[in-house]
Symmetry: C2
Subunit: 341 residues, 2 copies
């Protein structure tokens, strides 16, 4: 290993072989997991490697094996809320002892992204998973990087790339469907920033399910605003003024739903007996700890990560795919929604 001040020389395979009392070829086979090495010899080599803190020359392995056992996850998700579960799902699919995922945060900055991309490629990652900050399309990294790329959460703007996204329209239908099945007939929708494709998609799904059921949208409009509790509170006050008969609210995020709950409590409207509330995201810290615990829609981001890892693996193995795959969301029921008494 090279130390910072250059006093030590790198530990080589030769050092490991010498300490283990085997040939360099045998040490190499043992470390590479090849079958023709006796178990006893293998464990002796592993021990020697551990003792010397030997890091096998993965570049050499990469040239031999065609892969280095490392995947880059390039994210622009500042808060890590969406990319962390995707990272975890990907790691689970790869197997934690086979592939390491290196996460780099570009913070939505194209220059920073370029720099990270170069750093990851120069480390010879086998492939890249790109996670955007919001579920709208983002610029493609191009297809001449030399390694396969899978886009997760934010699709690439190049249809020849492979993108895995959440089916937000179906999720909107799912939320409203649940409220209808609870016997609600005056359902409102309060959601976030209308410039987000996901906000539009969820609203479209909600409206279409209401239309199918022959039900109006309570308050006569979708309440677009911000992805915050404060907006959830403000919109709920306006909604109650405009349509006091509302008996259910579908909130576009759990943060918004928390604001909705807060104002319903202030107004003395019981949840769920008087008004049912469903959120979106299944952000546990907000949803599970709400009063009452919040029903919500889970985007199954870990599953998205697992799927991205599988698709990336297939591409690394020479079976690339392209186009956009949408993954379904899942309904999580807690106490904030219940059938009318």
């Amino acid at each position: 290993m090279v130390t910072s001040n250059g006093t030590a020389r790198p530990v080589t395979l030769r050092d490991v072989a010498r300490l283990a009392g085997v040939s360099v070829a045998t040490a190499s086979k043992a470390l590479n997991g090849q079958p023709q090495v006796k178990a006893e010899t293998r464990s002796r080599v592993m021990e020697a490697a551990a003792q010397l803190s030997f890091s096998p020359n993965t570049l050499a392995q990469a040239l031999i094996g065609g892969r280095t056992g490392t995947v880059g996850l390039l994210t622009s998700d500042l808060e890590g809320r969406f990319s962390i579960p995707i990272l975890m799902g990907a790691e689970d699919a790869f197997g934690s002892d086979q592939i390491s995922v290196f996460l780099c945060d570009a913070r939505g900055d194209a220059i920073r992204e370029k720099h990270h991309l170069r750093a990851l490629l120069s480390r010879r990652v086998d492939g890249l998973i790109v996670v955007g900050a919001r579920p709208d399309s983002r610029p493609s990294l191009g297809r001449d990087l030399g390694v396969p790329v899978v886009y997760a959460y934010s699709p690439s703007d190049d249809p020849e790339d492979l993108s895995l996204v959440t089916d937000n329209e179906a999720a909107g239908r799912l939320a409203v469907d649940h409220l209808i099945s609870c016997g609600r007939t005056r359902i409102a929708h309060i959601t976030g920033d209308p410039s987000y494709g996901a906000a539009q998609d969820r609203a479209r799904g909600a409206r279409s399910r209401l239309t199918e059921a022959g039900l109006p949208l309570a308050g006569d409009q979708v309440w677009f605003g911000m992805w915050s509790e404060a907006w959830g509170r403000g919109a709920t006050r306006m909604l109650l003024r405009k349509d006091p008969s509302v008996d259910a609210v579908f909130a576009g995020s759990d943060e918004i739903a928390r604001g909705v709950l807060d104002v319903l409590h202030q107004e003395g409207l019981d949840v769920p007996s008087r008004v049912a509330v469903i959120g979106f995201d299944n952000w546990e810290v907000l949803a599970a700890n709400a009063r009452p615990p919040l029903s919500t829609i889970d985007m199954q981001l870990e599953e998205l990560g697992r799927r991205a890892a599988q698709r990336l693996f297939a591409a690394i193995d020479g079976n690339p795919a392209s186009g956009t795959e949408t993954l379904p969301c899942r309904l999580i029921t807690r106490e904030s929604t219940a059938p009318l008494g």
Copy 2:
């Protein structure tokens, strides 16, 4: 670049030089930012490199320059809440266009950590920042890794390592000091899991400041429990039964503080005029969006990350340090604390 199916050979410096119409030596100097290359030549080489998606052989550079421009951040912080701001602070200090930080999540699993460590070392990172899941000491990675290591948030159990931690005791004093300066005399402390050193340290600081001021601890005990809103609610109900005269609550986390606020609202006790509430963490999504917006203690994790990066850089440059450095927290005042009328 090696493609997945092995059909292409790696792009070499020679390819770049040929396309740019210069010698390999000149191409190398241009890409390494050495001064003796004309600007026009440099830009021609950069263009050729970009066109070919050439990734300079950073390993070779590392052997020459003594560093690779990459730092590993090894975290066990499942939710990314603490490690993401530390990552950002470190990146800011390194300069986004100079150093890439690769984050690997070990999830508190020693085997996974070992695997990630090996992956990072085999990519010749210049150094490591290790971030724990909780502010208690963790096992040292040892000092024979060949690269310097700085522990942030969770200190190493080896005093010869360098650890940067938050001064939780001073933070506890700071919170209570602020409540005293608001004229409060019946101050209670509701906090999380007592097995966390940080919970004990904050409580110790709070008690010592109260003692100095000759004030009692309202409720006659520290309410240890869980790091959750639900516990904040439960403890507040018990506290109000035991000591209805309480006029301020110092909560050990913003989540707990949210539960405290909720019950105070239910009981019709105005915040801050009747009871002042201060949280801990400055977790914006919870604190800034609370009703009223929550005063809190900020651990300045970005500053911790910046400091870790600086110390790591110094160590890479041959000036290692050891021991534990504590960093101060900062008071953030919002509307949930105010002087008594």
